[in-house]
Amino acid sequence: MPEQPQPDTVAAAQRTPDTSQPYAELGVADDEYARIRSILGRRPTSAELAIYSVMWSEHCSYKSSKVHLRQFGEKAPHSDALLVGMGENAGVVDVGDGRAVTFKIESHNHPSYVEPHQGAATGVGGIVRDILTMGARPVAVMDALRFGPLEASDTRRVLPGVVSGISSYGNCLGLPNIGGELGFDAGYARNPLVNALCVGVMRHEDIQLAQAPGPGNKVVLFGATTGPDGIGGASVLASAAFDDESHAKRPSVQVGDPFLEKLLVECSLELFRDKLVVGIQDLGAAGVSCATTELAAGGTGGMRIELDRVPLRDSTLTPEEILMSESQERMMAVVEPGRLDAFMDTCRKWDVQASVIGEVTDVTPDEAERGGRLVMTWNGETVVDLPPRTASDEGPVYERPYARPAEQDALQADTPDTLERPADDEELRAQLLDVLAAPGVCDPSWVTEQYDSYVRGDTVLSAPHDAGMIRVGEDGERGIALATDGNGRYTRLDPYTGTQAAFAEAYRNVAASGARPLAVTNCLNFGSPEDPGVMWQFAESTRGLADACQKLGTPVTGGNVSFYNQTGDTAINPTPVIGVLGVIDDVHSRPTTAFPRNGEGSRIVLLGS
C-alpha cells in the first residue's frame, strides 16, 4: 500500500500562504482566485480550491448567462399555476386536483461526444434525479438530439451510441419516452446536442426543497459509492500536492447504473411519503461540493462534514477528488436524528447504501453575515472551512461584452429568393421527395422504436404525434402534454425571432394536442460566451424567449445553459431548445395527428396565415 498522502489542511494553508496553486488549470481566473483568497482571508486549501473551482464554473454558476436569464423572472407573466419558480432544481406548476408537475431539460452534449452511450445515459440519469429531488415521481422523458450529417463517420459512431444510451437507461428506469427531436447539420459534427427532458408529478404538499434547516440534523449520503468518475480535472490538484502516477490519469467518463437509479427513485419516494427527510439534493456535476454547499446555504448556513465517511469505490481517492467526483446515482438528504433509523430501514429495504457523513450546525451572527460556515474534516484534520453561500450563491457574475457579428447582414441578405425554382412538375416532385427523405424529416422510428413509450400505462400520446401526453393520477381524466422544439438555422439567421419561432412551435404542438400551455423550460445550446458574437446571439435569444413568454402568458420555470458548443473556433448554430408544458382536463378529448380512418368527406381547414 502506498502511504496515504498528507492532505492540505487549513492549518497548512495558514502556515504556507505563498504556496502556488494550480488554479488556472482548474479554470479559475486570476481575479476569481484573488476573490477566494479575500473571502477566506488566506489561500484556499486544495480541497477548498476544488469546491470553488466547480461551484464557480460556468456550468454550475451560470456566471456568463445570469444577467440575461434574469429577464425570465423580470418579464414573467403572472401565473396562478406557478408553485415554485426559477432557482430551485426545477420549477413546479399546478395542474389542478391538488396535483403539481415539475419538468426541466438538461444538456449532456460534451460527455455524449466523448462516450456516446454512457454520456447520453448519464444525461437521462441526471435530469431524472433533478425531478426526483423536487419530491415528484418522474413519469416521462423526452430527448432533443442534434447530430452532424448522417453520412459522416462520426455520426455513425455517435448517433447509435446516444440512442442506445437513452434507450437503455430510460427503459431500465421504467420511464416512457413520449417524444423529442432529431436534427442533422454539419455544425453539430463533433459537437452533438443531447438534451434530455424529464417530467414528474406530485401532490402539492409533497414539494421538497434543497435546504438543510435545524442544527443537529444529520447529513446522509445515499446511493452509489464515490469513485474516480469524471474527475480528470482534479488530477492537477492531486499531482500538485504529491507525486503519484495513479492519480495522473483519472477518467473523465461517468458510467451510469440505471438499476441503482431505479432503486434510488423508489427509495426516495418512500422516504418522502413517510416524511423522513427535511431537505434533499441530488449530486450532479459538482457532486459532494455542490450538494453540501447548496444544502448548507439553503438552511442555517452551517454544516460539518467528515469527508472520510464518504463510502468509496476506490480507497485511494483524495479529499479533493471526492469533492469533485461526478459518480452517478447519488443523493444527499438532511434527516432529523429521531427519524434516522426509519430512514436507514427504508434504504435497506431497497438495497440502497446510506451513510451519515455529517450534520447541520448552528452559526454565529458573524458567521451568518459572512455566508455561513461549512467545515469538512479528513481523518480529524480540517481541510475545508468556508462560507458556503460564497460558493453556491455568490459566485462571479460577468457582463460579457456582446456585439452583433458583422456577417449577420450578409447572412440575412442571402434570402431564398435568389435560389433557383424548380423548372417543372417533375423537378418539384423530386425536390419534395428529397425533403421528405431528408434525415431530419423522414420517419424517425429507427430511433423511437428503441424507446419504451408504453411503460407506466399512462401514455396517451407519444411518437409520432406532435406532442407527448401523459395521464396524471391513476385512472384520472386529467393529463399533461409536452413538446420540445428548436431550430438552429432560424436562430442563427435571427436569434430573437428564431427563438420565438421555436417556442411558438412547441406551444402550437401542445395546443394542437388539446392541452392548454402553462409553462416553459429551455436548454440553451450556444458556442463560447467569450466570443462577443455568440454572446449577442445569446442575449437576443433570451430576450426573444422572455418577450414571447410574457406575451403568451407562460412563465419560464427553469432550464439549462450549455456554452462552449464548438469545434475549434467554430460555434454551432445557436440552438435554444424550448419545452412547453400544457394541461388537458380530459385526456379522452385529445385530437390526434392523423386524419381519421373513417373520415371520408370531412373538411380540411388550414388555420393561421
Binding site: 437503455s168 427503459n171 428506469l173 432503486l263 438495497d351 424507446y451 408504453y454 411503460v455 400505462g457 401514455t459
Partner: protein, 234 residues
Amino acid sequence: MTARVGVVTFPGSLDDRDAARAVRLAGAHPVPLWHADRDLQGVDAVVLPGGFSYGDYLRCGAIARFAPVMNELVPAARSGALPVLGICNGFQVLCESHLLPGALTRNRSLRFINRAQAVRIESTATAWTNRYTEGEQIRIVLKSGEGNFVADEATLDELERSGRVIARYVGDAPNGARRGIAGVSNEHGNVVGLMPHPEYAVEDLTGPSTDGLDFFTSLLAHLASSPATVTATG
C-alpha cells in the same frame, strides 16, 4: 369471492403497476408481493411482471430466479396447482427457473423494440388463454431488448407437438424468435410465459387495443371452473 392475483415486485420491476391495473380491470383483486418475502399470501394466481429485475445485468431474469418469493412460487407452479403468467422479464424469470423450456436472448437486430405487435393465439388450453379462440389475431405491445426465444430443435418440436406454443408473432418475428414463438406454456397449462405485453392493451386510451384483457379474464374463468386449484394454493 373475488379472485386474488399476486403481482411480484422485484428490484427493477417496471410493469408491476400495469399488471395490477389489468388484474383490476379484469375484475380480480391485485395483491402486491415483494421479492424478499417467502410468502405468497394465499393468492389464487401470480403474475411475474416485466422490467429489468436486478438491472438484467447478467442475463435477464438470472438473478431474480433466486429471490425468496420464488422459493415458494416454483414448487406450487411446477405441480400444476398455481397459475403463473410471466410477461417479458417475467417470462425470462420462468425460463431461468426451468419452469418453462428454452431461453430468451438478444433481439436479432441487437436493438430494443417498442411497437404494437400482431400476435396469433395458438393454444387456448391454458389457464391464461381459454377466453380466446384458436388462431385469433390480437394486437398487443412488444417492448423488449431480449425477446428472441431460442431452444434446441428437439425442444421446439416437442413444444409444437404438445400444443404448448401458445402465441406466435404474425409475420416475421421482429426479434428473431425461433419459429415465431411469442409465448409458451408448461405441460399443465398453468404456467405461461409471454414476451409481448397484454397488460398494456387493456384500455383504449393508452394501448393499441384492449385485446390483452382476456389473458386476465381467462384466468378468472379458469379459477371459477376449478375451485380445487384455489384451495390447493391457499
